[in-house]
């Protein structure tokens, strides 16, 4: 009798505690379990790396810290910083030109300039090697041109240099900054500029003192995307004969040194965390908000005599980052198609690529919804943990994600290992955050009052989610899905390490053929990837 009462007391206490964790608004069990499961899968790579590096032993640690880590740190950080700075400069400048000035061909340029997002950076790297390399097209033209070679001397471009790698990465990462900054430039209220004008500021002062500071959050977000990309890139960096942490991790593994790979991964994760920490700090100290009920479209600046220099600049960037690679690809594709590169095997690869990208983007859209819904509507400590874990894959290079998966699935879920699904799940871990961000921004525009309204009309929470939240989040979620599609169709490292026997994608073929310099086989695949991604990109741009 007494025990029963006591138990009842405990149950009551726990129930109250549970309710208080959730600020008296606990979510449904299904939602919570689903989100937790997703978060758990997302956390696999980190757990693995931490676990593995414990077994490395002090000896290995010491050897790495004295040996390769300092050099790698320098290589990685200097490259990241340079690429980030230039991507930001180019991205912001282009965004500003397109959104806020009367630059000609505005509508066309607006989306042409986002196209580099579709070119897989390792493909870009190869095309630049073909074009700028020591025995590339430009070099040939140079040596044949006696005027240039006598005037300036030997062919001066060394694509396999620090600046070469930086250049390649800048050309293919600036769209992250460009897209995000464009979006927020568009949303900026004209009132701020007029206020500054009424206080006696001229155009240039306004740009420096008003526009730039208020773009800081979006510049920050773009810079983060760029830095994380540089940290995690493997393909382009390997092609360019540069070594960063990610490449080193890959090489260590090919030398059978899993522990060293784990240690390096841990350092890389720390580096990533530092970057994310810096970002979240700068965000916290600057809560920007704008009043929406007096929103007025920003003014468009007349470029005047700057019109043509600006146009030339935009077209130059477009030419270098899109036209040039595509030209090279078309040249080699024609040769390749002539040699029968587009055969049944090619179509099998294309089918695999499409299948992975489609499945991954659909699953990302589905998986993002419960997590985002939980995050936005049921804030609590538990939610925060789930949310942070879900972003883990975003911050990790594909190599690490793949290594974690190899280990965990081999040991615990062998049935899935070596199947198409493991590739899909790994890509979900890498790209879910992209879908989540889109979904979040869509849901954040939907007032929680809308949910309450539906509940006051007799709908239980799960029904509210399907009948009200879902239809309204959908455009955002679809845009996120489009982004995931574009990312996963060109994904390389995780697919490379996890694909089952007999399963190759276009991306893998490009990498294999291109690293053997068999360009005529690589080019048609690369071209196909770009063409297939145009549709989702267009869709996404319309939403941005």
């Amino acid at each position: 009798m007494f025990i029963k009462k006591f138990n009842k007391g405990i149950v009551y206490f726990l129930k109250m505690k549970w309710i208080s964790i959730w600020k008296s608004n606990p979510p449904g069990m299904v939602l919570l379990l689903l989100s937790s499961a997703i978060a758990l899968v997302m956390a696999i790579p980190i757990l693995y790396v931490v676990y593995r590096s414990f077994f490395a032993g002090t000896d290995k640690w010491r050897r790495l810290i004295d040996g390769s880590i300092p050099g790698l740190l320098w290589n990685t950080i200097s490259l990241t910083v340079i690429v980030m700075i230039f991507s930001v400069i180019i991205g912001v400048l282009l965004a500003w030109l397109i959104v806020r000035t009367d630059i000609p061909f505005k509508r066309t340029l607006k989306w042409l300039l986002a196209l580099p997002l579709l070119v897989p950076p390792y493909v870009g790297a190869v095309t630049y090697i073909i074009f700028f390399g020591r025995s590339g097209w430009l070099q040939a033209a140079w040596t044949n041109n006696s005027f240039l070679s006598t005037l300036i001397g030997d062919y001066p471009v060394d694509i396999y240099s620090f600046w070469g790698v930086s250049f390649v990465l800048i050309m293919f990462t600036y769209p992250y900054v460009y897209l995000i900054v464009s979006a927020s430039l568009k949303k900026m209220n004209r009132n701020y500029e007029e206020a500054a004008q009424s206080l006696g500021m001229n155009r240039f002062q306004i740009f420096r003192k008003v526009i730039l500071p208020s773009l800081r959050p979006s510049i920050g977000a773009g810079a983060i995307l760029v830095s994380l990309y540089v940290l995690s890139d493997f393909g382009a960096i390997a092609m360019m004969r540069y070594v960063t942490f990610t490449a080193a991790i890959y090489f260590q593994r090919t030398s059978f040194d899993t522990e060293s790979a784990a240690v390096l991964s841990l350092v890389l994760i720390a580096l990533t965390l530092i970057i994310l920490w810096i970002e979240s700090r700068s965000k916290k100290s600057n809560k920007y908000y704008q009043n929406s009920n007096s929103y007025r479209r920003p003014m468009v600046l007349k470029l005047g005599k700057w019109k043509w220099p600006a146009t030339v600049f935009a077209i130059f960037i477009f030419t270098v980052s899109v036209v040039l690679p595509i030209m090279v690809l078309i040249y080699w594709s024609i040769i390749g198609i002539g040699m029968g590169a587009v055969n049944s095997r090619f179509f099998a690869y294309a089918f695999n690529s499409l299948r992975v990208a489609t499945v991954v983007s659909v699953l990302c859209m589905l998986a993002s919804m419960p997590v985002v819904y939980l995050k936005m509507r049921y804030p609590s400590v538990i939610t925060r943990v789930i949310d942070r874990l879900s972003y883990a894959g975003y911050a990790l290079p594909g190599v690490i994600v793949a290594l974690g998966f190899v280990f965990v699935f081999n040991n615990f879920i062998p049935a899935l290992y070596g199947t198409f699904y493991i590739v899909a799940i790994a890509l979900i871990v890498r790209f879910l955050p992209q879908a989540m961000q889109s979904g979040e921004s869509a849901l954040s525009m939907l007032s929680p009052k809308i949910d309450e309204a539906a509940r006051s009309l007799g709908y239980p929470p799960w029904k509210v989610m399907f009948k009200v939240v879902l239809p309204n989040m959908l455009p955002g979620v679809l845009a996120g899905g489009a982004l995931v599609f574009v990312s996963s169709i060109k994904e390389l490292p995780a697919t490379l390490l996890l694909r089952p026997p007999g399963f190759d994608t276009l991306a893998i073929r490009i990498y294999v053929e291109a690293s053997e310099a068999i360009y005529h086989l690589a080019a048609p695949a690369a071209l196909l990837i770009i063409m297939v991604s145009i549709i989702p990109l267009k869709f996404m741009l319309d939403k941005y």
């Binding site: 309204a453 509940r455 007799g458 709908y459």
Partner: protein, 353 residues
Amino acid sequence: MMYDIELKSVSKTYIGSDEAAVNNINLTVEKGSIVTLLGPSGSGKSTTLRLIAGFERANSGQITLAGKVVSDQSKWIPPEKRGIGMVFQDYALFPHLNVFDNIGFGYKEKDRKQRIMEVIELVNLKGYEKRYPNELSGGQQQRVALARALTRRPVVVLLDEPFSNLDTDLKNQMRIEVKRIIKEAEATAVFVSHDQKDALSISDKIVVMDEGTIQQIGTPRQIYQYPKNRFVANFVGQSNLLKGRVDTEDNTVETRIGIINCNTIDGGFDNKEEVLVSIRPDSFIMDHKGKLKGNIKELSYTGEAIEVVLEVQTPNNKKHNLLIRVSPDKVIHIGEEIKFNIIPNFVSVIKKE
């Protein structure tokens, strides 16, 4: 007497906050009446409403809707099962549904179509069925929100600051219309507002709240004419507060500006007790034979009246400022001396705290 809503000793403290947002509230609302919760920002109005709706959980106390306990220590009925209708400050219309579907959301009886058309007619929106919320004006959205809350014939309609987004003209118009609609639908309604004009003109009963507690419950006239304490006197309309000594036999209060007549003095004051007296600006009547006089220090023309700050000489030669409201047809100037009397209708006596 039948109550549609009953709150018994309800308290609510948000997690992470030390003070109770709602503190031991007792409230009954009669069937078919309109009640307004009135109070400054942060006084717990929305919290009270959300407790009734079930969007928040009370820490203690009991809530009864239409005779059925919906929340106490052991019982909890979620919002979707309470049979309430709610109108939100920003309307919270479903952006993906048109007017018809917004209004019919959650209503699945056989007479769906007919009922929706009935409600649409009630709110005067015939012809707008196919529009989406973003194609409606603020006032129309407001009416859709109201219609949506009424479709299911709820026991109780709750409205959280439904007018605060409207501009003055539309607000005046909506106030009258909402009152008509609610009365026609025979619903019991609880409004939340921090605008006294809303509250005074729409309600059968007003609940004045401050810092989570109820300060006074009464009809609009009771609240305005006889505020029970300093807070109510100041918050509902403007008021001049003076210290004084009550004379329960003469129904007067002796203050520094003279002896003031009151209509009634209830609430158990001792004779000669120190009290506060609240005199509404409307209580002062300009009269060239008036007993009191003062100099005009400031004046502000509001169309319907002239609000004057008057500097009054007290018997012991000190100065005291009074806010009085003068009929707008009077022509007066700053510096001028005017004489006046105080009529007792807007004078009330308040305990000195």
